[in-house]
Structure formats: structure tokens, C-alpha cells
């Protein structure tokens, strides 16, 4: 399978380990990623509170680039994925808006390229493929699969399997041998872009709720599919003295471990909360 790859800004900076691990996992699963040439920012957290048309034009430009390649496009970042999907939906349902966006871009926009999240892409390859590719099943690793808001909302546009209790990530992780726990905060907000403002206390409060919830459900780690969720959970956990914080992984990192890569190859050493220790305890740090 070949698909256009839209890394978005995070995956070239704060979320570089998501990029590293995502590319390896896709390669292992015979998914060929072709990075969009000359891609630009999708506008994510700031454009849509500034100007509605601008917020659509920025993702539309990247969608048009995928059109040129004649490929569908995958966006690992949940915020990018969300903006691309919403743009595609709005422009498909409003010809006037589409015309306005085309004028702004100075090029045609067809809307042919479909958008897929990385979770959806891996899930579509199938649990069986994941199971077969797994060299060391993540046996005994209890994880809380965390989807956040942007992978599932607005449900009418994104059409997730279940906007309140999604299963895609859980299934993939289970196929790799891990034990996803049943927990109630899968789609609660982490505080998202408040981390970039003066109101970081909002993020701290919401992250605490998520971490407490995951721990109460018996999870040893939280697994995300979003660079913003990851940095919030990774950087804003306030731990009581003496307690160990909960490591936070990208799902591609854990798949990479299951597929036999080393923690170093996958960039797991880049986390604020040490993610390598838990893996070392299981003897999974090195490549096999």
C-alpha cells in the first residue's frame, strides 16, 4: 500500500520520535509512505480561532498536494488529521467556500485525496498483520489506550467506530500482545493547546485526571496517537514525592518494540518521563 505522508510540524520537532517510530512501523507493515513535497503547516491550534477561511485554506493546500500525487494522505498527528478531515468535509459541502479557498490558493482543489489517521491506517492493515509481524509480544504490559478529542470529534465528520468508547487503538495494541485496560477517560481532553498559553494549570488538572484514571484501571503506561496529548501528558504530570510517574508512549513506539526494534532506534529516549526503564524491566530495550 502506498500513501502520501503529512508529518505536520510536530513530527519534525517535539514529536520526532512519533515520526521515527511511525515510519519504521509502516515499513514493517508494507505501507509505503511518500512525504508530501513542500508541505506547509495545517494551522491546527491557532488558525481556526483566527480566521475560518484561512483555517480551511491551509489544510486545503496540503490536500491539493496529495491530489497531485494521486494518493490518499495519512496524518499521524491527531490535530493535523482533524483539520484535514474537517476541511475536506466543509469544502465538499460548500461550493462557495471551496471557490474562495481555491482563489486564495491560486490553484484548483478537487477533494479527491481521502484522509486517514495513522491509527486507522494501521488498523486497516489488520490485527492479523500486526500479530504476524510481532516478534516479541508485549506480554504482561498493561496500557491505557488514550485517543484524546481530535481523533474522534466531531463524530459526524470523522466517523469513528464509537466516539465515546473507541476501540481501534486498543485492538492494535492487543494484537501486539499488550493488555489494554478498560478505562473511562479514553476520549477526555488533555488540555491541548492550553499548554502553549498562560493557562497551564488547566492542562495540569486535566492531565492529573487522566493519569489517575489510567493508574486506577491498573495501567503501567498511557499510549497516545497525538503529539500534543503526548507532550501534555509527558511534561505536565505532577507526581507526589517518591511516586513514579506514568510513562507515555506513542502507539507506534510500542508497535516498534513488538516488531523487534530497539528503544533507541524508535527515539524512546527523547521522552521527558523516562520510557526506557519500563521496557528494560521487560527486557525489551534492545533490537531482536
Amino acid at each position: 500500500m502506498k500513501i502520501a505522508y503529512y508529518p505536520g510540524c510536530s513530527l519534525h520537532s517535539t514529536g520526532i520520535e512519533y515520526d521515527l517510530s511511525g515510519r519504521r512501523v509502516c515499513q514493517d507493515l508494507d505501507i509505503e509512505l511518500q512525504e508530501l513535497p513542500d508541505w506547509t503547516c495545517c494551522g491546527a491550534s491557532s488558525a481556526h480561532v483566527t480566521d475560518h477561511v484561512l483555517a480551511l485554506a491551509l489544510p486545503a493546500r496540503n490536500l491539493a498536494l496529495a491530489d497531485d500525487l494521486g494518493l490518499d494522505v495519512t496524518a499521524p498527528c491527531a490535530a493535523c488529521y482533524n483539520r484535514l478531515q474537517v476541511t475536506r468535509h466543509e469544502l465538499a459541502h460548500d461550493p462557495k467556500l471551496r471557490q474562495e479557498v481555491e482563489e486564495l490558493l491560486g490553484r484548483p482543489y478537487t477533494g479527491r485525496a481521502a484522509v486517514r489517521s495513522l491509527v486507522d491506517l494501521v488498523a486497516s492493515v489488520g490485527e492479523e498483520a500486526v500479530r504476524q509481524r510481532t516478534r516479541r509480544p508485549l506480554r504482561g504490559l498493561k496500557v491505557a489506550a488514550y485517543y484524546g478529542c481530535l481523533l474522534v470529534r466531531p463524530a459526524g465528520i470523522l466517523q469513528p467506530d464509537d466516539p465515546e468508547n473507541p476501540q481501534g487503538l486498543d485492538r492494535i495494541l492487543a494484537a501486539a500482545g499488550a493488555e489494554p485496560v478498560e478505562w473511562p477517560f479514553k476520549t477526555e481532553c488533555c488540555g491541548a493547546s492550553f499548554a502553549l498559553t498562560d493557562h497551564t494549570e488547566v492542562v495540569t488538572r486535566l492531565v492529573a485526571q487522566l493519569v489517575d484514571g489510567a493508574q486506577a484501571a491498573g495501567a503501567e503506561a498511557i499510549v497516545t496517537a497525538c503529539p500534543l496529548c503526548h507532550s501534555n501528558l509527558d511534561m505536565r504530570q505532577e507526581t507526589a514525592p517518591g511516586a513514579t510517574p506514568l510513562p507515555v508512549y506513542y502507539f507506534t513506539e510500542l508497535l516498534g518494540i513488538a516488531f523487534g526494534h530497539s528503544a533507541a532506534e524508535l527515539g524512546i529516549g527523547k521522552h521527558s518521563i523516562d520510557g526506557t526503564q519500563l521496557l528494560a524491566q521487560h527486557g525489551w530495550s534492545q533490537a531482536v
Binding site: D162, P163, E164, N165, P184, F185, A216
Partner: protein, 660 residues
């Protein structure tokens, strides 16, 4: 020479407020064939009708056009009027100047012009009307009632009490329906079983009622007064003529852990079972799917212990053919699956239940003997959160309507909880509290004022476990603040929805249903218990959500319609039926599949062509079945089917009058 009279009704200001009625009457005077035209404030009133009669006699009218409201409203009335003046009732046309003109257009010149056009078309048509005469068909004076809930029971009792044979068919092993599952009824808090079970017994013992439980209607053929119905009696594997209902078989049956449908899976039943102790008939059936004898070939305990030798593993389904004159459909409802709201966790958290589960928990003959306990640990709950509108009024979930009963039954649950569990606190999340009904608002007030129920206006966003509690998170929209309640039990008021197989039932009996699969009444105001198929009537929630008082009222209304039909030996038929001209019919039978009433069948006729006798196939219309919809006349390629009262010639005359 035609002599047509035209009467333009003001309908108070309904028509006259928008249309210049005098001008319409004036214009009518110069239309071909019109000898008399006038306008009048209320044509349907007694003096209005008298005016028409007088004009028919004085002016020797041969046709009448009335420009008024929709013919669905008063055509019947006006037919009687002209008939009493000696004119054939089908020499009348109604031009719809209200719904089709004055109500939908502004007051301006063009509206009056349209009214004149509508009258001109009606005048052109009535000039080509022929007298039509009603036929008569015999009426089989026996009724079929489908569904043995409170609606079906009430309808069957009312018809039987009027002296007519009634067959009551119920799919389940016992009659009683949903009402049998309820504990108390609002707003009086009568015990549901105490008011229902006597009626169940009455209907089963009534000498005019034949009760067919564990049976399903498979096929309905025929027409008003003359239906032929096939009923499948499902094999109970128990000969009910021998069974005394002693219950020994149920005591001995080794398969004891089957979730009881009647108890909403909160209780267990055996493989040979009756749904509940007060079942009517109080005789068991064997659930083949769970019976060890059927599953493994071994067992046979019930047959061994039955003192009457009533167990019969070889019993087969039987088909019974019934001849009935009228059918009352009272098939009830299902409940919306609340698992579709995954934020409430129904199906994942055992202490999130539905209102019907709560009814069983609070019922003294229920699985807990009337003790309200949590399904998970059988502890008594203190804080109970009730969530309203689970499905109802949520277009995103496909249920746009209000289920009508939930506000009231939740108020009842709040009261029952406070009465049963000392110190318990009911919380109710609601969108609006709808209490339209006698004594209903007062009942709701009691729940809040006397029993301390806390009503919170807002939706719940999430229910999740914390320890052994359930945290209910929502918004209080009156305070504009999020709220969080630690509950022991959460009760969801899930929407009333049509039976899963409602559409199938409607198709097999032959009447229409709406987008939600509730059965459609013939007219929402003026024919609320009739269907568009003559002789088929509706009762209860199968027609739309309603509570018990309304259901009983509707059931009695349906029974009254049946009894009125049976009060005559013969029934007048609608003469506006399709008519085939066999001389030009090619026998292609394209008309047969388009007929929604199965009224057209091929018929072989004998002819002499060139001195030789030949036989050929032509279409033939059963006038008893034909409802005069006209679908066949449009499908007929040779144009040799005509609808009496709406012939091609009449309709083309209307079109010409409008367009040329």
C-alpha cells in the same frame, strides 16, 4: 343540458380573508354549464347546507361544485347534503380553496385568480360526472385482535362484550404485554398487576373470545368484512388441553439458569417455563433453544414428572385459518438500545440499567422481591441518578420524537425509590419535564416537593466507575455549571420505539407506517384509530408513544369502530373503484404488481373472434379490495382501466380547464 351550481365558502375568514370570494362566485357564473353561483360564510353549517339543498331543487341542478376546505374534511358531509336533495352524491365536486389556496398564499390578486381556476377545473369535471352507486358486501361478524397487551385485551373485551366473536392472537406464551412488567402506574400509583390481571382473566374466560397465545399472524388476505387470516400456532411441546398448570415440570427442569426475558435478565427461568406466575394461560411452554432434551437428546425430566402426560416433544407448529370481518392491530413497542450512547456505559457497567429494569427491581413479584438493589453487588442504592431522553428527541440517534411516558414514569420511579429505600436520594437529569395529563403535573410536584427528588436541567456527558460508585457528570444548564454526582445506580429512560418487525407486520396485513415504523392512522385528527386500509384499526403504542390511559381509550375507540361495522349485516362499498374494459385489455397484467391492495387478478374470458370461440386473459378488479387509488390506471398501457369518479375523461377535462 348541464345545470351546475357553484357554492363558494368563506370558511369564516379562513378563505375570505385571502380570497375575494364574491369575485370567485361572479367568475363562476360565466363558466360553461353553471346556472347558479353564490358565496356563503359557513357552507358546512346547517343553514349553509339548507341553502345548497334549496338551490338543487329550485334550480334543478344536475351537478354541484363547492369551493371550500379539503375534501378530506367535509366531502362526506356535502355528499349527504346533495343526496338528501335528491341528487346522486357523486355528482358533487369539492374545489379545495383553503388548504390548496387561501392558507398557503398571501392576500393578493393572484390568489383569487388561482381560486377561480380551481373552481373552473371542478366545474369541468362535474360536468362529466356520472351517478355512481354503492355496492353491498356481507360482513363476517368476527374480529381479530393482534397483540395481547393492555390495548389488545381492552379491544377484545369491548368487542366481545358487544356480543361479537373475537380472536385474540399473542406472540408470547402469555397475554399481558408490557403492562404486566410494570410495578405501579402513574399518577395514582395503582399496582399495575392489580388492575391488569383481572382483565387478563376476563378476556381468557369470555365465551366470545378465542385466545391464541404463542401464535403469530402469518398472512392476511381479503378485504373489509371478509378477511382470511392464517395464524401459526407455535409448538409449545406441551399439550395445553391436558396440562393443569401444576408447575411440577418447571420445578424439576434442570436447565434453571436461562435469563428471563420477562425479568429483563435480572432473574432466571427454566427451559420449560411460563413468563410470570400470573401468566394467562397459566400453562408452560418449552423453549427449544435451551431445552436439554432438544439440545442433547437426553433429559426428558418434565415428561417423566408430568402427572397428566401433557409433555409432547413431537408437537409441530400448526396453521389455523380464520375468517374475520375486522382487524385490530395492537402490537405494542420495543425500547431503544441505550448501548448506542456509549458515554452512559450501559452494557459495560452492570449498575447502569433502564427504566424497565427498575420496574422489575421495585416489583414485589420481581426477581428481588421488591427490594431495590444494585445488580452488581445486591447492595441497596442510596443515590440514584435518572437520565431522561435516552434516545428520545435526539435526531442524531434517529429518534426525533418525544416518547411521552418517560417524564411521568421517572417521577414515579423517584417516588418509589424514596418510599422503598429510607434515606435514598433521587436525581433526575432532564431536558424538559412534560406532564400533560390529568393529575400529572401534581404528581411530578409531589416527586420534587414531598419526596425530595432533585431535578437537574441538563444532559449527562459521561458515566464512569470510581471505586464501587458511578460518577455521573453533566451540566446544570440553569446554573451554567458542570455537576458531578456519585451514584450507586443509574437508570436510563430509553426511548419508546416501534417493534423491530413492525414494518413486516404492516406489509403483511396491508397498511402503512411512518418513518419511525409506527403505524399510520388514516387521519391524525379525524380518523385516529382507522388505517388507510378499510377494516383494519389501530390501538396502543404501535401507532405512536402513549401512556396506559390513552392506550385504553384508543383500544375502546378501535373496538367501537369494529362494533359499528358489525352492526350492519351488509356494508356499503366505495363505488369509486377501478374498472377494466375487457374489450381493449391486452392481458399484459402490468397493473397487477402496482396494485398495493392486491385487488387485481387475471381472469380468463370467452370471446368469439371471426366466428371462432377463443379464451384469453384479461385483468379483473375485485371491487371489495380496490381502494380507488388509481395506480393501475396510470400503469395501463392501453388506457383501458378507468377509475370510476376519476375517469381519464374527467381528469383531462380538469387539466384543460386549468391550462387552456
Amino acid at each position: 343540458m348541464k345545470r351546475i351550481g357553484v357554492f363558494i365558502c368563506w370558511c369564516g375568514s379562513n378563505i375570505a380573508g385571502t380570497v375575494d370570494v364574491e369575485k370567485v362566485a361572479e367568475a363562476a357564473r360565466s363558466m360553461p354549464g353553471v346556472v347558479y353561483a353564490t358565496d356563503y360564510k359557513y357552507t358546512c353549517s346547517e343553514p349553509g347546507q339548507q341553502m345548497i339543498k334549496d338551490a338543487i331543487r329550485e334550480q334543478h341542478l344536475t351537478g354541484v361544485v363547492i369551493g371550500s376546505c379539503s375534501p378530506r374534511m367535509h366531502e362526506k358531509t356535502f355528499r349527504k347534503t346533495v343526496e338528501s336533495a335528491g341528487l346522486n352524491p357523486y355528482l358533487l365536486e369539492v374545489a379545495n380553496l383553503r388548504e390548496h389556496c387561501s392558507w398557503v398564499h398571501p392576500r393578493e390578486e393572484a390568489t383569487t385568480r388561482k381560486a377561480i381556476d380551481l373552481v373552473r377545473a371542478a366545474v369541468a369535471k362535474v360536468a362529466r360526472n356520472h351517478p355512481l352507486h354503492q355496492g353491498h358486501i356481507p360482513v363476517e361478524k368476527r374480529a381479530l385482535v393482534i397483540g395481547g397487551g393492555i390495548a389488545g385485551i381492552q379491544a377484545a373485551l369491548d368487542i366481545a362484550e358487544s356480543g361479537y366473536e373475537t380472536v385474540l392472537v399473542e406472540r408470547e406464551p402469555s397475554i399481558g404485554g408490557r403492562m404486566a412488567q410494570l410495578d405501579k402506574t402513574f399518577p395514582t400509583l395503582d399496582c399495575s398487576a392489580c388492575i391488569l390481571t383481572p382483565k387478563m382473566v376476563d378476556v381468557s374466560r369470555h365465551d366470545k373470545v378465542t385466545l391464541l397465545t404463542y401464535s403469530e399472524v402469518e398472512k392476511v388476505e381479503g378485504y373489509i368484512g371478509n378477511f382470511t387470516v392464517t395464524v401459526r400456532r407455535k409448538a409449545a411441546y406441551v399439550d395445553h388441553s391436558k396440562c393443569t398448570g401444576c408447575g411440577l415440570c418447571m420445578e424439576k427442569c434442570p436447565a434453571k439458569k436461562i435469563p428471563s426475558e420477562f425479568e429483563m435478565s435480572l432473574g432466571r427461568r427454566t427451559a420449560i417455563y411460563r413468563p410470570f406466575p400470573q401468566a394467562v394461560p397459566n400453562k408452560p411452554v418449552i423453549d427449544r433453544e435451551h431445552c436439554l432434551k432438544f439440545k442433547t437428546g437426553k433429559c426428558g425430566v418434565c415428561a417423566h414428572f408430568c402427572p397428566r402426560g401433557a409433555i409432547d416433544y413431537e408437537q409441530q407448529d400448526q396453521r389455523v385459518t380464520l375468517h374475520v370481518g375486522a382487524i385490530v392491530v395492537a402490537t405494542g413497542y420495543d425500547l431503544f438500545d441505550p448501548a448506542l450512547y456509549s458515554e452512559y456505559g450501559y452494557g459495560r457497567y452492570p449498575d447502569v440499567i433502564t427504566g424497565l429494569h427498575f420496574e422489575r427491581l421495585v416489583n414485589s413479584s420481581g426477581p428481588t422481591g421488591g427490594h431495590i438493589v444494585r445488580p452488581s453487588d445486591h447492595k441497596e442504592p442510596k443515590n440514584v441518578v435518572f437520565i431522561q431522553c435516552v434516545g428520545s428527541r435526539d435526531e442524531a440517534k434517529g429518534v426525533s420524537y418525544c416518547s411521552k411516558i418517560c417524564c411521568m414514569y421517572t417521577a414515579k420511579h423517584a417516588i418509589l425509590l424514596a418510599e422503598h429505600v429510607p434515606g435514598a436520594h433521587p436525581y433526575v437529569f432532564y431536558m424538559d419535564v412534560r406532564t400533560a395529563g390529568k393529575g400529572y403535573e401534581e404528581f411530578y410536584k409531589r416527586a420534587t416537593e414531598e419526596f425530595g427528588a432533585t431535578y437537574i436541567r441538563g444532559r449527562v456527558s459521561k458515566v464512569y466507575p470510581r471505586g464501587d460508585k458511578l460518577v455521573v457528570r453533566g451540566e446544570d444548564t440553569l446554573l451554567g455549571k458542570p455537576v458531578e454526582i456519585e451514584a450507586d445506580l443509574v437508570v436510563l429512560a430509553n426511548a419508546v420505539v416501534a417493534r423491530h418487525d413492525a414494518a413486516e407486520v404492516a406489509r403483511s396485513v396491508g397498511f402503512s407506517y411512518d418513518g419511525h415504523h409506527f403505524f399510520t392512522e388514516a387521519h391524525p385528527k379525524l380518523a385516529p384509530v382507522e388505517t388507510n386500509t378499510a377494516g383494519v384499526f389501530l390501538a396502543g403504542v404501535c401507532q405512536g408513544p402513549k401512556d396506559i390511559p390513552e392506550t385504553v381509550a384508543q383500544a375502546s375507540a378501535a373496538a367501537a369502530k369494529v362494533v359499528a361495522l358489525f352492526s350492519k349485516d351488509q356494508m356499503a362499498t366505495n363505488p369509486m373503484t377501478a374498472q377494466v374494459d375487457p374489450a381493449c385489455c391486452a392481458g399484459c397484467m402490468l397493473c397487477e404488481p402496482v396494485c398495493p391492495y392486491h385487488a387485481i387478478r387475471p381472469e380468463t374470458i370467452q370471446e368469439r373472434v371471426g366466428g371462432k370461440a377463443i379464451s384469453r386473459q384479461v385483468a379483473s378488479v375485485n371491487e371489495g379490495l380496490c381502494q380507488g387509488c388509481g395506480a393501475c390506471t396510470a400503469a395501463c398501457r392501453t388506457g383501458c382501466i378507468d377509475l370510476k369518479g376519476y375517469t381519464h375523461q374527467q381528469i383531462l377535462a380538469e387539466v384543460e380547464a386549468l391550462c387552456l
